[in-house]
Amino acid sequence: MSHQLSNRGRVWFTGLTGAATAMPGDPDSVQTADGRLGEESARFLCVVPNPNARFPCARQGEVGLEEAYTLAARVREAMDEDKDSSKRPIVAIVDVKSQAYGRREETAAIYLAAAAAANAYADARLAGHPVISLVVGHAISGGFLTHGYQANRILALDDEGVMIHAMHKEAAARITRRSVEELDKLGTTIAPLSYNIKDYAKLGLLHKLLHVEDPEKPSMEEIQRVQTELIAAIFDARSKPVDLRSRLESKEALEMRKASILVRAKMEAQWREG
């Protein structure tokens, strides 16, 4: 497989924060900055490719051990700083090709690192920080579970290069014994299988799709428009419960997640019987 390192995360991180570096002591692969969002300050976090990363399997934009623990530490830092004040929004800019697939990572329990980051994001959400994911590129599998999937609201750019999925196409085809073409064809009728972000939007998990002409080179005006959408999503998150129920209550979810809704209702009824 040929991999061109994606620059999208960096472009959007810099566009939204004006910053372009990691915080002191952090690996270059995790960029964190506090930037203005309307009337307040928000914490932005982004995982970017780092060809010089210490761990060889985490050099192309994967979320590895260092990335996950750095995200966890920076999210918890914002929580600690805001303990007695207004909870600043936390924005995860997402362009992660996957989790790191390496022996070092497995040996040193990358699953715990991933859980530490997801735990930090979820705790921030529960503490009242509006947590918003802005998917500007790939959001694949454990990479997305680690960085972004615990958000109150998920926004994504409406673009061919934006992809939210459980596994990248080639591997999913191999494991389910299909060709990539067959997989693409199935995706047109079975929405959860699709690699197209428009089909993902049908599942009801997404807050909003945002159109940008060229996500690799957003204009000032487009960045401002995305900022406005982030502010609106933050407002929406603050006015609603801090759990993930919005993902089941959207009008798309009422259609596509009928089985989820049925299971919950029946389980609740039977739970009370005994």
Partner: protein
């Protein structure tokens, strides 16, 4: 905690050989078990049949409510024999719903522990994005419940616990494993496929267990109890964990500790699992209290 000498290999009853339903039943006080959304409800995956895969009437997830030592508990057991224990919309939502109802009970003053029997390769690829979504929801629901009551993950084998569900194991109050069980984010086959044979030779079983195996995870301080494949021992251990109550600090919250440990690793070469045990074994603040 593991003590093979103490096991009567002839008279012991294997836990691993039980299916999900029998496992769940074995952990609950006799006569107290009641299955919710059982197979006769026929709530199947709406996505499998249209892909030519035969669905199962419980979608590979058994939810059983009952008592453990007289205390209310719910067991959620994944059936490794159905689609590798993979998480689909229905099986995953059964787990989320049970965890949320348990949390609701706790929030209204009742006590309700959850025991998760995780035998799973992770997301069911035939339900891809809905599988990944429910895995994220399960994680969130574990965080909600564990504040009030223990969430106990048991990984007995032989499937093990991989993919997104390994995060749920990491967030649990207590983790119980057998030496036959494995726990990791990426299975060896996936790593071999993605990063090459020189990175991980999946057919090297000794290597696989040296890294992912229950004995190693316990020795690293990442599993609380190592048990033998014995129904009585697994059941006693689960009772003990229920009795301990919620944990004060979870491993997945100990960011500074683990971040420092990662910083100390020599990443220029593969990490020796045995040396890692020594380095990580002591001073795991989140261990049994």
């Amino acid at each position: 905690m593991s003590n093979f000498q103490g096991v009567d290999f002839v008279r012991r009853r294997s836990f691993i050989e039980l299916d999900a339903r029998a496992r769940a039943k074995a952990l609950l006080d006799e006569g107290s078990d009641r299955e919710l959304l059982g197979p006769f409800e026929r709530i199947e995956s709406p996505w499998l049949a249209q892909q030519g895969v035969t669905p199962q009437s419980d979608d590979g997830c058994v939810v059983m409510k009952g008592m453990i030592d007289g205390a209310a508990a719910v067991v959620v057991a994944l059936e490794g024999a159905f689609q590798g224990g993979s998480m689909g919309e229905v099986s995953g939502t059964k787990m989320v719903a049970a965890l949320d109802l348990a949390a609701k009970d706790c929030e209204s003053g009742k006590q309700m522990s959850a025991i998760l029997l995780l035998e799973t390769g992770g997301v069911r690829l035939q339900e891809a994005n809905l599988g990944l979504a429910v895995v994220a929801e399960i994680f969130a629901s574990v965080l909600r419940l564990r504040r009030h009551s223990p969430v106990i993950t048991v990984i007995a084998g032989t499937v093990g616990c991989f993919g997104g569900m390994s995060l749920t194991a990491a967030a649990s109050s207590y983790v119980v494993m057998t030496p036959e069980a494995r726990l990791g984010l990426n299975g060896p086959e996936v790593i071999e496929q993605e990063s090459g044979l020189e990175e991980f030779e999946a057919s090297d079983r000794a290597l696989v267990w040296a890294i992912h195996g229950g004995t190693q995870r316990y020795a690293m301080g990442l599993a609380d109890v190592l048990v033998d494949d014995d129904v009585a021992q697994v059941s006693r251990t689960v009772r003990d964990c229920v009795g301990k109550g919620p944990r004060t600090e979870h491993r997945s919250e100990q960011v500074a500790l683990y971040r420092e440990r990662i910083a100390k690793l020599d990443a220029s070469q593969q990490i020796n699992p045995v040396s890692l045990r020594t380095a990580w074994a002591e001073a795991t603040g989140g261990r049994e209290q």
